[in-house]
Symmetry: C2
Subunit: 264 residues, 2 copies
Protein backbone atom coordinates (compact mmCIF):
# COMPACT_ATOMS: atom_id res chain seq x y z
CA UNK A 1 0.00 0.00 0.00
CA UNK A 2 1.49 3.26 -1.19
CA UNK A 3 0.12 6.64 -0.23
CA UNK A 4 1.07 9.86 -1.98
CA UNK A 5 0.65 13.18 -0.23
CA UNK A 6 0.55 16.44 -2.14
CA UNK A 7 1.58 19.25 0.19
CA UNK A 8 -0.01 22.68 -0.32
CA UNK A 9 -2.96 21.04 -2.06
CA UNK A 10 -6.35 22.60 -1.48
CA UNK A 11 -7.32 19.15 -0.21
CA UNK A 12 -6.48 18.52 3.45
CA UNK A 13 -3.83 15.86 4.05
CA UNK A 14 -6.18 13.67 6.09
CA UNK A 15 -8.61 13.71 3.17
CA UNK A 16 -5.93 12.61 0.70
CA UNK A 17 -5.07 9.67 2.98
CA UNK A 18 -8.74 8.86 3.51
CA UNK A 19 -9.45 8.81 -0.23
CA UNK A 20 -6.45 6.66 -1.13
CA UNK A 21 -7.03 4.01 1.53
CA UNK A 22 -10.73 3.96 0.62
CA UNK A 23 -9.76 3.34 -3.00
CA UNK A 24 -7.47 0.46 -2.01
CA UNK A 25 -10.31 -1.13 -0.06
CA UNK A 26 -12.91 -0.57 -2.80
CA UNK A 27 -10.57 -2.05 -5.42
CA UNK A 28 -10.00 -5.08 -3.24
CA UNK A 29 -6.26 -4.43 -3.02
CA UNK A 30 -6.68 -4.71 0.73
CA UNK A 31 -9.14 -7.46 1.55
CA UNK A 32 -11.79 -7.97 4.21
CA UNK A 33 -10.31 -8.68 7.61
CA UNK A 34 -6.79 -7.68 6.57
CA UNK A 35 -4.85 -5.40 8.86
CA UNK A 36 -3.82 -1.86 7.92
CA UNK A 37 -0.48 -0.39 9.04
CA UNK A 38 -0.68 0.97 12.58
CA UNK A 39 -1.21 4.67 13.24
CA UNK A 40 2.41 5.14 14.28
CA UNK A 41 3.68 3.20 11.31
CA UNK A 42 1.69 5.40 8.91
CA UNK A 43 2.68 8.58 10.69
CA UNK A 44 6.36 7.63 10.59
CA UNK A 45 6.42 6.41 7.01
CA UNK A 46 4.51 9.43 5.73
CA UNK A 47 6.28 11.90 7.98
CA UNK A 48 2.99 13.15 9.42
CA UNK A 49 1.58 13.71 12.86
CA UNK A 50 -0.36 10.84 14.36
CA UNK A 51 -3.38 13.12 14.83
CA UNK A 52 -3.63 13.60 11.06
CA UNK A 53 -3.53 9.85 10.44
CA UNK A 54 -6.18 9.30 13.12
CA UNK A 55 -8.51 11.79 11.45
CA UNK A 56 -8.22 9.92 8.14
CA UNK A 57 -8.87 6.57 9.82
CA UNK A 58 -11.76 7.98 11.85
CA UNK A 59 -13.52 8.96 8.63
CA UNK A 60 -12.92 5.54 7.07
CA UNK A 61 -14.40 3.97 10.18
CA UNK A 62 -17.47 6.20 10.30
CA UNK A 63 -18.17 5.17 6.73
CA UNK A 64 -17.83 1.51 7.62
CA UNK A 65 -14.72 0.69 5.59
CA UNK A 66 -12.61 -0.36 8.55
CA UNK A 67 -12.68 -0.78 12.30
CA UNK A 68 -10.21 -0.64 15.15
CA UNK A 69 -9.44 -3.03 17.95
CA UNK A 70 -7.68 -1.66 20.98
CA UNK A 71 -4.24 -3.12 21.42
CA UNK A 72 -4.52 -4.95 18.10
CA UNK A 73 -4.77 -2.58 15.16
CA UNK A 74 -6.91 -1.37 12.28
CA UNK A 75 -8.74 -3.85 10.04
CA UNK A 76 -10.77 -3.78 6.84
CA UNK A 77 -14.47 -4.39 7.46
CA UNK A 78 -16.41 -7.29 6.08
CA UNK A 79 -19.20 -6.59 3.59
CA UNK A 80 -22.32 -5.07 5.04
CA UNK A 81 -25.37 -7.23 5.61
CA UNK A 82 -28.54 -6.13 3.78
CA UNK A 83 -31.22 -5.74 6.43
CA UNK A 84 -34.84 -5.58 5.35
CA UNK A 85 -36.33 -2.97 7.67
CA UNK A 86 -39.91 -3.51 6.53
CA UNK A 87 -39.73 -7.18 7.40
CA UNK A 88 -42.68 -8.28 9.55
CA UNK A 89 -41.81 -11.94 9.74
CA UNK A 90 -39.31 -11.63 12.52
CA UNK A 91 -35.57 -11.23 12.74
CA UNK A 92 -34.89 -14.93 13.27
CA UNK A 93 -36.78 -15.84 10.12
CA UNK A 94 -34.99 -13.16 8.11
CA UNK A 95 -31.48 -14.25 8.95
CA UNK A 96 -32.39 -17.86 8.30
CA UNK A 97 -33.51 -16.88 4.79
CA UNK A 98 -30.24 -15.04 4.29
CA UNK A 99 -28.38 -18.17 5.36
CA UNK A 100 -26.69 -16.43 8.27
CA UNK A 101 -26.37 -17.89 11.74
CA UNK A 102 -28.29 -15.90 14.35
CA UNK A 103 -27.89 -16.30 18.08
CA UNK A 104 -30.25 -14.46 20.45
CA UNK A 105 -29.13 -13.74 23.99
CA UNK A 106 -31.64 -12.72 26.65
CA UNK A 107 -30.36 -9.68 28.57
CA UNK A 108 -33.34 -8.53 30.60
CA UNK A 109 -36.96 -9.58 31.11
CA UNK A 110 -39.45 -7.79 33.32
CA UNK A 111 -43.16 -7.08 33.57
CA UNK A 112 -43.56 -3.32 33.94
CA UNK A 113 -46.33 -0.77 34.27
CA UNK A 114 -46.18 1.38 31.14
CA UNK A 115 -45.69 5.10 31.57
CA UNK A 116 -48.00 7.49 29.73
CA UNK A 117 -45.94 7.61 26.53
CA UNK A 118 -45.65 3.86 26.24
CA UNK A 119 -49.30 3.19 27.02
CA UNK A 120 -50.30 5.70 24.34
CA UNK A 121 -48.19 3.88 21.78
CA UNK A 122 -49.57 0.48 22.74
CA UNK A 123 -53.09 1.86 23.31
CA UNK A 124 -53.52 -0.06 26.56
CA UNK A 125 -53.09 0.42 30.29
CA UNK A 126 -52.35 -3.24 30.88
CA UNK A 127 -48.96 -4.38 32.08
CA UNK A 128 -46.22 -4.65 29.52
CA UNK A 129 -43.48 -7.21 29.11
CA UNK A 130 -40.12 -5.57 28.51
CA UNK A 131 -37.58 -7.74 26.71
CA UNK A 132 -34.01 -6.71 26.07
CA UNK A 133 -32.11 -9.03 23.77
CA UNK A 134 -28.77 -9.13 22.01
CA UNK A 135 -28.59 -10.47 18.46
CA UNK A 136 -25.35 -12.14 17.44
CA UNK A 137 -24.94 -12.70 13.69
CA UNK A 138 -22.21 -15.10 12.59
CA UNK A 139 -20.45 -14.45 15.90
CA UNK A 140 -20.69 -10.65 15.65
CA UNK A 141 -22.69 -8.73 18.27
CA UNK A 142 -24.70 -6.54 15.92
CA UNK A 143 -28.20 -5.72 17.18
CA UNK A 144 -29.82 -4.75 20.47
CA UNK A 145 -33.53 -5.39 20.61
CA UNK A 146 -35.80 -3.65 23.16
CA UNK A 147 -39.35 -4.96 22.86
CA UNK A 148 -42.44 -3.83 24.80
CA UNK A 149 -45.41 -6.18 24.57
CA UNK A 150 -48.85 -5.52 26.10
CA UNK A 151 -49.81 -8.55 28.21
CA UNK A 152 -53.57 -8.02 27.88
CA UNK A 153 -53.95 -10.52 25.05
CA UNK A 154 -50.74 -12.41 25.82
CA UNK A 155 -51.37 -13.98 29.21
CA UNK A 156 -48.28 -15.54 30.80
CA UNK A 157 -46.09 -14.48 27.93
CA UNK A 158 -43.33 -13.72 30.44
CA UNK A 159 -43.04 -17.45 31.15
CA UNK A 160 -41.59 -18.28 27.75
CA UNK A 161 -38.05 -18.43 26.52
CA UNK A 162 -37.15 -15.71 24.04
CA UNK A 163 -33.85 -16.93 22.71
CA UNK A 164 -35.64 -18.02 19.53
CA UNK A 165 -38.32 -16.23 17.53
CA UNK A 166 -40.67 -13.96 19.49
CA UNK A 167 -43.15 -13.81 16.62
CA UNK A 168 -43.34 -17.60 16.50
CA UNK A 169 -44.43 -17.65 20.15
CA UNK A 170 -47.01 -14.93 19.51
CA UNK A 171 -48.48 -16.94 16.65
CA UNK A 172 -48.24 -20.46 18.09
CA UNK A 173 -49.65 -19.61 21.51
CA UNK A 174 -51.86 -16.57 20.99
CA UNK A 175 -52.55 -16.68 17.24
CA UNK A 176 -51.36 -13.09 17.06
CA UNK A 177 -49.55 -12.05 13.89
CA UNK A 178 -47.88 -8.79 12.88
CA UNK A 179 -49.64 -7.20 9.95
CA UNK A 180 -48.26 -3.68 9.69
CA UNK A 181 -45.89 -1.31 11.39
CA UNK A 182 -44.96 2.34 11.55
CA UNK A 183 -41.31 3.05 12.00
CA UNK A 184 -38.64 5.67 12.16
CA UNK A 185 -34.96 5.32 11.59
CA UNK A 186 -32.12 7.63 12.56
CA UNK A 187 -28.50 7.46 13.62
CA UNK A 188 -26.94 8.32 16.93
CA UNK A 189 -23.84 7.62 18.99
CA UNK A 190 -23.48 4.64 21.26
CA UNK A 191 -23.74 5.37 24.99
CA UNK A 192 -21.79 3.28 27.49
CA UNK A 193 -24.53 0.64 27.79
CA UNK A 194 -24.61 0.01 24.04
CA UNK A 195 -20.83 0.23 23.79
CA UNK A 196 -20.45 -2.61 26.27
CA UNK A 197 -23.13 -4.81 24.70
CA UNK A 198 -21.96 -4.44 21.11
CA UNK A 199 -18.27 -4.33 22.04
CA UNK A 200 -17.56 -1.13 20.11
CA UNK A 201 -15.68 2.08 20.98
CA UNK A 202 -17.38 4.90 22.88
CA UNK A 203 -19.51 7.21 20.73
CA UNK A 204 -19.47 4.78 17.81
CA UNK A 205 -22.10 5.43 15.16
CA UNK A 206 -25.20 3.28 15.47
CA UNK A 207 -28.60 3.23 13.77
CA UNK A 208 -31.72 3.42 15.89
CA UNK A 209 -35.04 2.10 14.69
CA UNK A 210 -38.34 2.51 16.54
CA UNK A 211 -41.48 0.68 15.46
CA UNK A 212 -45.03 0.18 16.52
CA UNK A 213 -46.25 -3.17 15.22
CA UNK A 214 -49.96 -3.82 14.65
CA UNK A 215 -52.01 -6.95 14.08
CA UNK A 216 -54.62 -7.44 11.35
CA UNK A 217 -57.19 -5.44 13.37
CA UNK A 218 -54.80 -2.50 13.80
CA UNK A 219 -54.31 -3.26 17.48
CA UNK A 220 -50.73 -2.55 18.65
CA UNK A 221 -48.94 -5.74 19.63
CA UNK A 222 -45.40 -4.48 20.07
CA UNK A 223 -43.33 -1.36 20.47
CA UNK A 224 -39.70 -1.97 19.69
CA UNK A 225 -36.48 0.01 19.78
CA UNK A 226 -33.57 -1.53 17.89
CA UNK A 227 -29.95 -0.47 17.82
CA UNK A 228 -27.85 -1.64 14.88
CA UNK A 229 -24.13 -1.29 14.30
CA UNK A 230 -24.36 1.18 11.40
CA UNK A 231 -21.14 0.04 9.79
CA UNK A 232 -22.31 -3.57 9.44
CA UNK A 233 -25.62 -3.09 7.63
CA UNK A 234 -27.25 -1.52 4.66
CA UNK A 235 -30.96 -1.02 5.19
CA UNK A 236 -33.35 -2.04 2.45
CA UNK A 237 -37.12 -1.91 2.04
CA UNK A 238 -40.00 -2.09 -0.41
CA UNK A 239 -42.72 0.51 -0.87
CA UNK A 240 -46.17 0.24 -2.36
CA UNK A 241 -48.37 3.09 -3.51
CA UNK A 242 -51.28 3.68 -1.15
CA UNK A 243 -54.21 5.58 -2.48
CA UNK A 244 -55.26 8.10 0.10
CA UNK A 245 -53.53 9.06 3.24
CA UNK A 246 -53.17 12.28 5.12
CA UNK A 247 -49.43 12.26 5.61
CA UNK A 248 -49.33 15.43 7.65
CA UNK A 249 -51.89 14.18 10.17
CA UNK A 250 -50.16 10.82 10.31
CA UNK A 251 -46.88 12.45 11.23
CA UNK A 252 -48.30 14.64 13.93
CA UNK A 253 -49.93 11.70 15.70
CA UNK A 254 -46.77 9.70 15.73
CA UNK A 255 -44.17 12.32 16.40
CA UNK A 256 -43.79 11.89 20.15
CA UNK A 257 -42.67 8.36 19.40
CA UNK A 258 -39.34 9.56 18.11
CA UNK A 259 -38.42 11.02 21.43
CA UNK A 260 -39.24 7.95 23.45
CA UNK A 261 -36.43 6.83 25.70
CA UNK A 262 -36.67 3.32 27.08
CA UNK A 263 -36.53 2.80 30.81
CA UNK A 264 -34.69 -0.28 31.93
Amino acid sequence: MKINIVANSHEPIYYQIYKQIKKYIKNGEIKCGEQLPSERELSNSLGLSRVTIRKAIKDLISEGFCYKERGKGIFVSKERIPLKIDNLKGTANYFRLLGLNLETKMLFKKVIKPDIRLSEKLKTRSNVLYLKRLRIVEGERLIIDNAYLPLERMLNLEKYCFEGSLYKILYDIYKIQPNRSKSMITHKLADSDIVNLLDIPLNYMITERQSIVYDINNIPIEFVINYYRSDRFIFIYDSLFTKDENIAAFEKNLLPLWHYVPTS
Copy 2:
Protein backbone atom coordinates in the same frame (compact mmCIF):
# COMPACT_ATOMS: atom_id res chain seq x y z
CA MET B 1 -24.19 27.17 30.70
CA LYS B 2 -22.03 25.54 33.34
CA ILE B 3 -19.91 22.48 32.67
CA ASN B 4 -18.35 20.38 35.41
CA ILE B 5 -15.34 18.22 34.67
CA VAL B 6 -14.34 15.34 36.93
CA ALA B 7 -10.65 14.66 36.46
CA ASN B 8 -9.44 11.07 36.79
CA SER B 9 -12.93 9.81 35.99
CA HIS B 10 -13.19 6.63 33.97
CA GLU B 11 -15.20 8.77 31.55
CA PRO B 12 -13.07 10.71 29.06
CA ILE B 13 -13.23 14.49 29.46
CA TYR B 14 -14.60 15.01 25.95
CA TYR B 15 -17.45 12.62 26.80
CA GLN B 16 -18.32 14.54 29.97
CA ILE B 17 -18.52 17.76 27.95
CA TYR B 18 -20.51 16.06 25.19
CA LYS B 19 -23.05 14.65 27.65
CA GLN B 20 -23.55 17.91 29.54
CA ILE B 21 -24.03 20.09 26.47
CA LYS B 22 -26.37 17.46 25.00
CA LYS B 23 -28.42 17.60 28.20
CA TYR B 24 -28.66 21.40 28.04
CA ILE B 25 -29.92 21.16 24.45
CA LYS B 26 -32.39 18.34 25.19
CA ASN B 27 -33.77 20.23 28.20
CA GLY B 28 -34.24 23.30 26.07
CA GLU B 29 -31.90 25.37 28.23
CA ILE B 30 -30.11 26.27 25.03
CA LYS B 31 -32.60 26.82 22.26
CA CYS B 32 -32.65 26.14 18.54
CA GLY B 33 -30.44 28.51 16.59
CA GLU B 34 -28.69 29.82 19.71
CA GLN B 35 -24.93 30.08 19.66
CA LEU B 36 -22.66 28.02 21.89
CA PRO B 37 -19.45 29.47 23.34
CA SER B 38 -16.59 29.30 20.85
CA GLU B 39 -14.01 26.52 20.99
CA ARG B 40 -11.36 28.84 22.42
CA GLU B 41 -13.78 30.27 24.96
CA LEU B 42 -14.65 26.79 26.21
CA SER B 43 -11.05 25.64 26.22
CA ASN B 44 -9.98 28.72 28.21
CA SER B 45 -12.83 28.69 30.69
CA LEU B 46 -12.50 24.97 31.36
CA GLY B 47 -8.72 24.96 31.28
CA LEU B 48 -8.62 22.29 28.58
CA SER B 49 -6.93 21.87 25.24
CA ARG B 50 -8.88 23.01 22.22
CA VAL B 51 -8.57 19.52 20.69
CA THR B 52 -10.54 18.04 23.58
CA ILE B 53 -13.33 20.60 23.14
CA ARG B 54 -13.40 19.94 19.40
CA LYS B 55 -13.84 16.21 19.96
CA ALA B 56 -16.88 16.85 22.20
CA ILE B 57 -18.41 19.26 19.68
CA LYS B 58 -17.70 16.88 16.79
CA ASP B 59 -19.77 14.18 18.48
CA LEU B 60 -22.63 16.59 19.15
CA ILE B 61 -22.56 17.53 15.50
CA SER B 62 -22.50 13.99 14.18
CA GLU B 63 -25.59 13.30 16.25
CA GLY B 64 -27.32 16.34 14.83
CA PHE B 65 -27.55 18.44 17.99
CA CYS B 66 -25.51 21.34 16.66
CA TYR B 67 -23.64 22.57 13.64
CA LYS B 68 -20.70 24.84 12.92
CA GLU B 69 -20.29 27.76 10.58
CA ARG B 70 -16.78 28.72 9.64
CA GLY B 71 -15.86 32.14 10.89
CA LYS B 72 -19.12 32.39 12.85
CA GLY B 73 -19.40 29.80 15.56
CA ILE B 74 -21.30 26.77 16.85
CA PHE B 75 -25.09 26.74 16.88
CA VAL B 76 -27.88 24.53 18.18
CA SER B 77 -29.69 22.69 15.38
CA LYS B 78 -33.33 23.10 14.55
CA GLU B 79 -35.65 20.13 15.00
CA ARG B 80 -35.28 17.38 12.43
CA ILE B 81 -37.82 17.04 9.64
CA PRO B 82 -39.65 13.70 9.45
CA LEU B 83 -39.12 12.35 5.95
CA LYS B 84 -41.34 9.56 4.67
CA ILE B 85 -38.96 7.35 2.72
CA ASP B 86 -41.69 5.07 1.34
CA ASN B 87 -43.49 8.04 -0.18
CA LEU B 88 -44.36 7.41 -3.84
CA LYS B 89 -46.25 10.63 -4.44
CA GLY B 90 -43.22 12.80 -5.01
CA THR B 91 -41.07 15.02 -2.86
CA ALA B 92 -42.88 18.22 -3.84
CA ASN B 93 -46.21 16.78 -2.79
CA TYR B 94 -44.80 15.53 0.50
CA PHE B 95 -43.36 18.84 1.64
CA ARG B 96 -46.57 20.60 0.66
CA LEU B 97 -48.50 18.25 2.94
CA LEU B 98 -46.04 18.99 5.74
CA GLY B 99 -46.60 22.69 5.18
CA LEU B 100 -42.94 23.35 4.39
CA ASN B 101 -41.71 25.51 1.55
CA LEU B 102 -39.77 23.52 -1.05
CA GLU B 103 -37.67 25.05 -3.78
CA THR B 104 -36.18 22.82 -6.49
CA LYS B 105 -33.10 23.98 -8.35
CA MET B 106 -32.02 22.33 -11.59
CA LEU B 107 -28.31 21.54 -11.53
CA PHE B 108 -27.78 19.30 -14.53
CA LYS B 109 -29.86 17.80 -17.32
CA LYS B 110 -28.58 15.48 -20.00
CA VAL B 111 -29.69 12.61 -22.18
CA ILE B 112 -27.19 9.78 -21.74
CA LYS B 113 -26.61 6.28 -22.97
CA PRO B 114 -26.97 4.02 -19.91
CA ASP B 115 -24.02 1.84 -18.94
CA ILE B 116 -24.62 -1.84 -18.26
CA ARG B 117 -25.44 -1.42 -14.59
CA LEU B 118 -27.96 1.33 -15.18
CA SER B 119 -29.66 -0.39 -18.09
CA GLU B 120 -30.05 -3.52 -15.97
CA LYS B 121 -31.76 -1.53 -13.26
CA LEU B 122 -34.08 0.20 -15.71
CA LYS B 123 -34.50 -2.92 -17.86
CA THR B 124 -34.03 -1.00 -21.08
CA ARG B 125 -31.34 -0.08 -23.55
CA SER B 126 -33.05 3.14 -24.54
CA ASN B 127 -31.53 6.50 -23.77
CA VAL B 128 -31.90 7.81 -20.27
CA LEU B 129 -32.54 11.31 -19.01
CA TYR B 130 -30.23 12.20 -16.15
CA LEU B 131 -31.51 14.93 -13.84
CA LYS B 132 -29.56 16.38 -10.96
CA ARG B 133 -31.53 18.66 -8.71
CA LEU B 134 -31.05 20.45 -5.42
CA ARG B 135 -33.94 20.59 -2.93
CA ILE B 136 -34.10 23.62 -0.70
CA VAL B 137 -36.47 23.29 2.26
CA GLU B 138 -37.41 26.51 4.05
CA GLY B 139 -34.23 28.07 2.73
CA GLU B 140 -31.98 25.16 3.80
CA ARG B 141 -30.11 23.18 1.13
CA LEU B 142 -30.98 19.70 2.33
CA ILE B 143 -31.37 17.15 -0.49
CA ILE B 144 -29.57 16.26 -3.70
CA ASP B 145 -31.65 14.30 -6.17
CA ASN B 146 -30.08 12.27 -9.01
CA ALA B 147 -32.78 10.78 -11.20
CA TYR B 148 -32.36 8.47 -14.21
CA LEU B 149 -35.45 8.11 -16.41
CA PRO B 150 -35.73 5.79 -19.42
CA LEU B 151 -36.93 7.85 -22.39
CA GLU B 152 -38.54 4.93 -24.21
CA ARG B 153 -42.04 5.68 -22.93
CA MET B 154 -41.33 9.33 -22.14
CA LEU B 155 -40.66 10.93 -25.50
CA ASN B 156 -39.31 14.49 -25.31
CA LEU B 157 -39.25 14.41 -21.55
CA GLU B 158 -36.00 16.36 -21.64
CA LYS B 159 -37.90 19.36 -22.98
CA TYR B 160 -39.76 20.00 -19.77
CA CYS B 161 -38.89 22.12 -16.77
CA PHE B 162 -38.14 20.12 -13.62
CA GLU B 163 -38.18 22.80 -10.98
CA GLY B 164 -41.59 21.55 -9.90
CA SER B 165 -42.86 17.99 -9.47
CA LEU B 166 -41.33 15.37 -11.77
CA TYR B 167 -44.08 12.87 -10.97
CA LYS B 168 -46.73 15.41 -11.97
CA ILE B 169 -45.13 15.67 -15.43
CA LEU B 170 -44.94 11.88 -15.75
CA TYR B 171 -48.62 11.58 -14.95
CA ASP B 172 -49.99 14.60 -16.82
CA ILE B 173 -48.09 13.99 -20.06
CA TYR B 174 -47.42 10.26 -20.17
CA LYS B 175 -50.02 8.86 -17.73
CA ILE B 176 -47.20 7.06 -15.96
CA GLN B 177 -47.52 6.70 -12.20
CA PRO B 178 -45.18 5.23 -9.58
CA ASN B 179 -46.68 2.17 -7.97
CA ARG B 180 -43.88 0.54 -6.03
CA SER B 181 -40.20 0.89 -5.32
CA LYS B 182 -37.27 -1.05 -3.95
CA SER B 183 -34.82 0.97 -1.95
CA MET B 184 -31.74 0.90 0.20
CA ILE B 185 -30.58 3.44 2.71
CA THR B 186 -27.16 3.92 4.26
CA HIS B 187 -24.95 6.70 5.53
CA LYS B 188 -21.71 7.99 4.11
CA LEU B 189 -19.47 11.04 4.18
CA ALA B 190 -19.94 13.99 1.86
CA ASP B 191 -17.40 14.30 -0.96
CA SER B 192 -16.38 17.69 -2.27
CA ASP B 193 -19.24 17.86 -4.79
CA ILE B 194 -21.89 17.26 -2.14
CA VAL B 195 -20.09 19.52 0.32
CA ASN B 196 -20.34 22.43 -2.09
CA LEU B 197 -23.96 21.82 -3.03
CA LEU B 198 -25.28 21.38 0.50
CA ASP B 199 -22.90 23.96 1.97
CA ILE B 200 -21.60 21.66 4.70
CA PRO B 201 -18.08 20.86 5.97
CA LEU B 202 -15.93 18.22 4.25
CA ASN B 203 -16.68 14.64 5.26
CA TYR B 204 -19.97 15.63 6.90
CA MET B 205 -22.34 12.74 7.56
CA ILE B 206 -25.04 12.31 4.94
CA THR B 207 -27.67 9.67 4.23
CA GLU B 208 -27.77 8.03 0.82
CA ARG B 209 -30.91 6.47 -0.57
CA GLN B 210 -31.12 4.50 -3.82
CA SER B 211 -34.42 3.43 -5.31
CA ILE B 212 -35.80 1.74 -8.35
CA VAL B 213 -39.34 2.96 -8.95
CA TYR B 214 -41.85 0.80 -10.89
CA ASP B 215 -45.21 1.51 -12.45
CA ILE B 216 -48.36 -0.59 -12.05
CA ASN B 217 -47.04 -3.14 -14.56
CA ASN B 218 -43.75 -3.52 -12.71
CA ILE B 219 -41.85 -1.68 -15.43
CA PRO B 220 -39.03 0.47 -14.05
CA ILE B 221 -39.71 4.16 -14.58
CA GLU B 222 -36.95 5.72 -12.51
CA PHE B 223 -33.69 4.98 -10.77
CA VAL B 224 -32.85 7.58 -8.19
CA ILE B 225 -29.97 8.34 -5.84
CA ASN B 226 -30.72 10.84 -3.11
CA TYR B 227 -28.37 12.46 -0.64
CA TYR B 228 -29.85 13.89 2.53
CA ARG B 229 -28.24 15.93 5.27
CA SER B 230 -28.41 13.28 8.00
CA ASP B 231 -28.60 15.77 10.83
CA ARG B 232 -31.71 17.49 9.48
CA PHE B 233 -34.02 14.48 9.03
CA ILE B 234 -35.50 11.52 10.74
CA PHE B 235 -36.61 8.87 8.30
CA ILE B 236 -40.02 7.30 8.70
CA TYR B 237 -41.95 4.63 6.84
CA ASP B 238 -44.86 2.20 6.98
CA SER B 239 -44.70 -1.56 6.40
CA LEU B 240 -47.37 -4.02 5.44
CA PHE B 241 -47.22 -7.79 5.80
CA THR B 242 -46.79 -9.51 2.44
CA LYS B 243 -47.69 -13.15 2.21
CA ASP B 244 -45.00 -14.94 0.30
CA GLU B 245 -41.68 -13.67 -0.83
CA ASN B 246 -38.29 -15.20 -1.16
CA ILE B 247 -36.28 -12.60 0.65
CA ALA B 248 -32.94 -14.20 -0.02
CA ALA B 249 -33.48 -14.38 -3.77
CA PHE B 250 -34.82 -10.88 -3.78
CA GLU B 251 -31.70 -9.54 -2.14
CA LYS B 252 -29.31 -11.34 -4.42
CA ASN B 253 -30.97 -9.97 -7.54
CA LEU B 254 -30.83 -6.44 -6.31
CA LEU B 255 -27.48 -6.34 -4.60
CA PRO B 256 -25.43 -4.77 -7.40
CA LEU B 257 -27.68 -1.76 -7.08
CA TRP B 258 -26.07 -0.78 -3.80
CA HIS B 259 -22.71 -0.32 -5.41
CA TYR B 260 -23.88 1.86 -8.24
CA VAL B 261 -21.93 5.11 -8.53
CA PRO B 262 -23.59 7.81 -10.62
CA THR B 263 -21.69 9.30 -13.51
CA SER B 264 -22.14 12.97 -14.06
